[in-house]
Assembly symmetry: D3
Homo-oligomer: 133 residues x 6
């Protein structure tokens, strides 16, 4: 399996509900370093998985509504804990939709899976990987 | 599959037996950067794989008996080469026991697998990944 | 000149006032990676600049009141923009006081200067360096 | 599954054909950071996947004909786009041949798979992973 | 002294003349990771050294004519070796001009110095630092 | 001032004497990541500070007697604590001698200063910088 992965970052505020989170129940924030990997069994005729320029654009389009925001106030996240794990799945779902809509410039079914990795500090990160079909 | 990964490090001395190790047959040492990833099919009700605080504690508890020690003198490692690969498996086994004992604060069977990655320098690392059940 | 530098991180929320900040006028957040370097002309009799354990503790003591907080709500930061640059100076001043109070375990005048570096993402950081005397 | 991974780098020039590449159709270049991971179900009697010294040598032997060269002029790459993805597969094929020829110092069938990862910048990388048998 | 530093990268081809360069006399290439630090004695009224957005734009404006190009063919570099060191000075001179032209949005004389750092691989980098006045 | 910096690493065992070192009084070890920066006011006619190949060789020659060794047993370190700080000075002195002996391939007096940086983990490092003349 081939993969191409692009990386960007966002700076957000949020807070968590639940005793398990301890001090992170307070409003705090994070620089999230977000990597999106597109996986394919075969390269296309140009010798690529997907156009890396489009991959950066697709990731940036998913991140733009979140960047420099307080995630607690965004309607799409109402009532959920926007944990690092939750956000890996959110980015996955949005990018999966972009793939299926043909926005990556390759026949959707030729992209087999996505892996989204989000680093919250130099010592903690999360990822979510799943097939698209 | 979701994963949450935490990272810590230890500073140890050791030596290896076997001609294949060349100069590493001498007593030398390493800063090992150790990442432990906990994998799960589903997030829990808090939106997490495991409590990251507990994950750091569980990893630290496994590493504490090794940190600032000469691994050649530890009884649990008698007669083995404490290679980077061997240590990935040692940390895996200890953390697997912690998961099964419920120390990560989640129903053990909901944690599907572990991946332990150990970097010995900026140009060499090893990992071990296996399902828990 | 010798230096010893230790690194820790905090996760905070904040917002800025002033058009120059564009979208960062909204409440957002950051993982700040904070390095504190202690500079000295000579090593002490143990062959160190300062005890690295004390250096970590001194830095952590400065960061604890900020970690997992909304900096906009802290009384000590009332009416100021808690920019990365501002925070380098804040950490400098607090650690300088710790040095002068002898908390680093070395005669204060033997520590010549401090350099505080704060990374806000993989592509932006700030630092402040000044002599202590 | 165990893995051992070694990392090296090369500095090359090349250009791409195809509108999808935009400005990268011009002759440009890259520092490629190349990691080769050798995967095995079991460690050998020395407690290793493969001798790390041999792994570095095998990777270096694959990279030497490419380093400090214009890839557009190498006969083995005539008529292809030497994309990061393409190069992951090229390195994979060459290292797979080295494994099969016994150059890693372990019975070939005991090495189950290879994963080649190539970083082209801090924000983009590609990988190729496949079983050897 | 305060500093704010922003980082970007370019992918270029070039070759060197002179036996000292060995294999780098061949046409090859590099991903250059370029950091530009702006130094100032005092923060401005907003609590910043310079607007980080303008700093990124100023650096990008300097790098744009070089990115995805063969430096050997650029008229501004005719007859010179575009070594990493040379490029630190080139970026310095261009950014110094931008500062003097007021493009960083702060009174030019309030910016005391620049430091340009260019990494060519994980094991080699160069920098150039000088006062502006 | 220009600088060129090269980076290598060693894996060593050692122990410290003195209560200040706590658990590090035990025999332990470290992967030391060692960067050597050569500083010069002017580039030479080739457009470089020093030949980077010679810089790597000079650093490797200094490190070879230490790599894969127990520093406690080396006669040159008898009776001293081989702290990270101490080692920055040791590498400085050895490389300064190499510069003065003309081994860097440039007129010695044209190299103004050296800065040696040694990382012992991702969260702690030391450096020593001084003029050569």
């Amino acid at each position: 399996m081939f993969a191409v992965e692009v990386t960007d970052h966002i700076m957000v505020a949020h807070s968590f509900r639940g005793e398990v989170f301890g001090p992170a129940q307070e409003l705090h924030g994070a620089t999230f370093t977000i990597s999106a990997a597109f996986l394919a069994e075969q390269l296309d005729d140009n010798g690529i998985v997907v156009d890396i320029g489009r991959a950066f654009e697709a990731l940036k389009a998913v991140l733009a509504p979140l960047n420099y925001r307080n995630l607690d106030e965004l309607p799409q996240f109402k009532g959920v804990n926007t944990t690092t794990e939750f956000l890996t799945r959110h980015v996955f779902d949005e990018l999966a939709a972009a793939v299926r809509a043909g926005k990556l410039g390759r026949a959707p079914h030729e992209i087999a899976a996505l892996r989204i990795t989000i680093g919250e500090s130099t010592s903690a990160r999360a990822w979510y990987e799943a097939p698209l079909w």
